[in-house]
Symmetry: C2
Subunit: 410 residues, 2 copies
């Protein structure tokens, strides 16, 4: 008997049969005595169609009207799921963002949740009614419908779990939990029973995209325990199913390294022989920021001749724009050469245990050296070590590191 | 320069091209200086799909959740049309029933409008903003979404025209006005420039289904001038396009008969040799009312032997149920025989001029007699004479009456 939020994404509610299956799953929790709020996405494909219509009518469409159109996807799912639950004898009703209300700011298309009034939902859940809530949407101070942006339903679910004081927020998705690395590359990858918010954030932002980053940040700030589990696999009703994303304090036996992530979405840029004088970095990265180009890893070494080589990575999709922006600046900066390489991969080892263990980075460097993999760039944070290598070594590197940190399954 | 409501049905907004065409039409009115509110239906086909989903999940689904699901159809259209208008440089915003609000009762799936708060809409329309409003929906006292039932968008448009004090409510549909009769049967049928509310009601309820009956009743009560015109034809911007539905007082030259309507949706039931004693009619029609079966024409003649023959019509779809209900009552009523005939047609001549002209019914009877058409049942109202005939004579009768009343075009 607990108060829980269950969130089902678009593929979990893609058609009427799947909606019935979700209803059956919710009924089991309800029958077990849980107070249940369900957060749903639009049926798979719906949102893309609605977005496509808006774009076809006007490439620069009004974000407020876009929100009116796309918010209908979740609304349909809430009504249908409420009907499916009632058909199973479960008392249920649908809630739209404006009805609860889920208050957001005015940033249409990418709004942030400001407050959720949960008292009425709690009263009804305590009386046995299942709340079926539209994810991804809210209401602005202007009274207009807002959406939270792609992946926003995860954020809705976590925010509701916080507002309702839920014991847990179960995110049903198409994977059965968080793995030590991508099982497609490393068959011996292990599902983690628990992972900390910070590790999850590092893994998510470097390629293991299971939970929307904002939802993890929110869970961390609000101390919401999030469980990631499969909509389709067996045994999701077991309390050990999936992966629990929790406060670091809840993880008793901290692994030095929890997982290995990789990303092939970045490209490397090197400016050769940049004059080593104050303000150069600000000029370079200011120019990129002006174009809304995100820079990730940055390395700079000073040479003896008063010049420096600057290397950094940008999203592969931004490479051409970054080159153009820097080309324009060439006279002002005065670098000798601009080199680019899109064929790189970023490999990261992540683990809260790093805080209390020495030699974690060195294990990484040695493991890569053993496979003759050259490290082009290194960057570190408190719980992560990332390296940039040639993309062709990605799988080899991930497997070597997975073994080196003792993550391989029995 | 006038304040007008323009209403576009599902076929008028069936796809993006048609939505663009509607936007262009609205822009012309807006550019001419009119203050414009637009009421839209769901894109053709959408509502049927949404209704089908609800029914597939539960044949006896919760009407409140049904409303949540189907109301999304109109919401999508409002957002898309607002975007299309903005793309043409017209300031526009979408409004859902709960935002205005359009207050209704709690009768989900067939709610009635109770009140509309129009002040904010008027303020914005005066400032040049086009209001794009979801038809067919409102908000219940409980704060839940309601829908008005099929055809409800016409009612929304008329109610908004009343609340906004609009000079006219233009209903764009797939016909270019109200005709003296069905042009498929009588090629010489003429489009009427004007018709009174009461005539429209009689024509609508007997088969000329252009405007939803409730919307005409509301227009009559609120004195809203309604113009019916085509979304697709030429010249709808002309003030003489379509047919104007108005107060009888506005029609200077009243035709004796404005139109000929027909319906093949009814079936005839005759109870032979019913004992002629008080309370029999109440027993018979009470039994049918209990089963929610509507009875239309009723005729009763007393015979010399203390029995009577009762004839009446019910909807063809209700015939089997009516027979069953009356069969159960046979011992109690004691009629000799129950005869049914589904192969009948009701032909009606309608006109406010009847009030001041004699001999209208007689012209009808003579015209039918001339074609050797037998009249089975006659019923009259202040502005209508209806007869029941064998269905096979429908076209012949309609053409004969159209000529007899001088309605044939030039």
């Amino acid at each position: 008997m607990a108060r829980i939020v269950m969130k089902f994404g678009g593929t979990s509610v893609a058609d009427l049969d799947r909606i019935r299956a979700v209803a059956a799953r919710v009924k089991r929790a309800h029958d077990a005595g849980d107070e249940v709020a369900v957060v749903v996405s639009a049926m798979a494909g719906t949102t893309n169609q609605l977005v496509g219509w808006c774009q076809a009518l006007s490439p620069l469409h009004d974000a407020r009207e876009y929100d009116v159109v796309v918010a209908t996807g979740e609304q349909v799912t809430t009504g249908l799921l409420a009907i499916a639950l009632q058909e199973l004898g479960v008392e249920a009703r649908s809630w739209q963002g404006w009805q609860i209300p889920i208050r957001t700011d005015n940033a249409h298309g990418k709004a942030r949740i400001a407050a959720i009034e949960g008292a009425e939902l709690i009263r009804r859940m305590q009386a046995g009614q299942v709340a079926v809530i539209s994810g991804f949407q809210g209401i602005a101070p202007t009274g207009r419908i807002t959406t939270l942006g792609r992946g926003g339903s995860d954020t809705s679910a976590v925010a509701l779990a916080a507002a309702l004081g839920a014991e847990r927020c179960d995110i049903y998705t198409d994977v059965d939990g968080i793995y030590t690395t991508d099982p497609r590359i490393v068959p011996k990858a292990r599902k983690l029973a628990k992972i900390s918010y910070e590790e999850m954030l590092e893994l998510a932002s470097v390629g293991a995209k299971v939970l929307q980053t904002r939802s993890v940040e929110l869970a961390m700030n609000e101390h919401v325990r999030v469980r990631v589990l499969s909509s389709f696999g067996d045994g999701p009703d077991s309390p050990t199913a999936g992966t629990l994303v929790v406060d670091e304090d809840e993880i008793v036996e901290k692994e030095t390294v929890s997982g290995i992530a990789y990303s092939r979405d970045e490209a490397k840029i090197t400016l050769r022989r940049v004059p080593d004088r104050p303000g150069i970095a600000a000029t370079v990265f200011g120019a990129l920021a002006d174009k809304a180009i995100n820079v990730d890893m940055i390395v700079q070494n000073t040479a003896a001749d008063g010049t420096t080589d600057m290397t950094f990575t940008v999203g592969k999709a931004d490479l051409a724009r970054a080159q153009a922006a820097l080309g324009t600046l060439a006279p002002q900066i005065g670098f000798a050469e601009l080199l680019t390489d899109p064929d790189v991969a970023k490999i990261s080892v992540v683990g809260v245990g790093m805080r209390s263990h020495v030699g974690v980075a060195n294990t990484m460097f040695r493991a890569l050296a053993d496979k003759a993999i050259n490290i082009e760039v290194i960057s570190t944070s408190e719980i992560k070590v990332s390296v940039l290598i040639a993309a062709e070594y990605t799988e080899l590197a991930v497997r070597a590191l997975h073994t080196a940190y003792g993550l391989d399954a029995g």
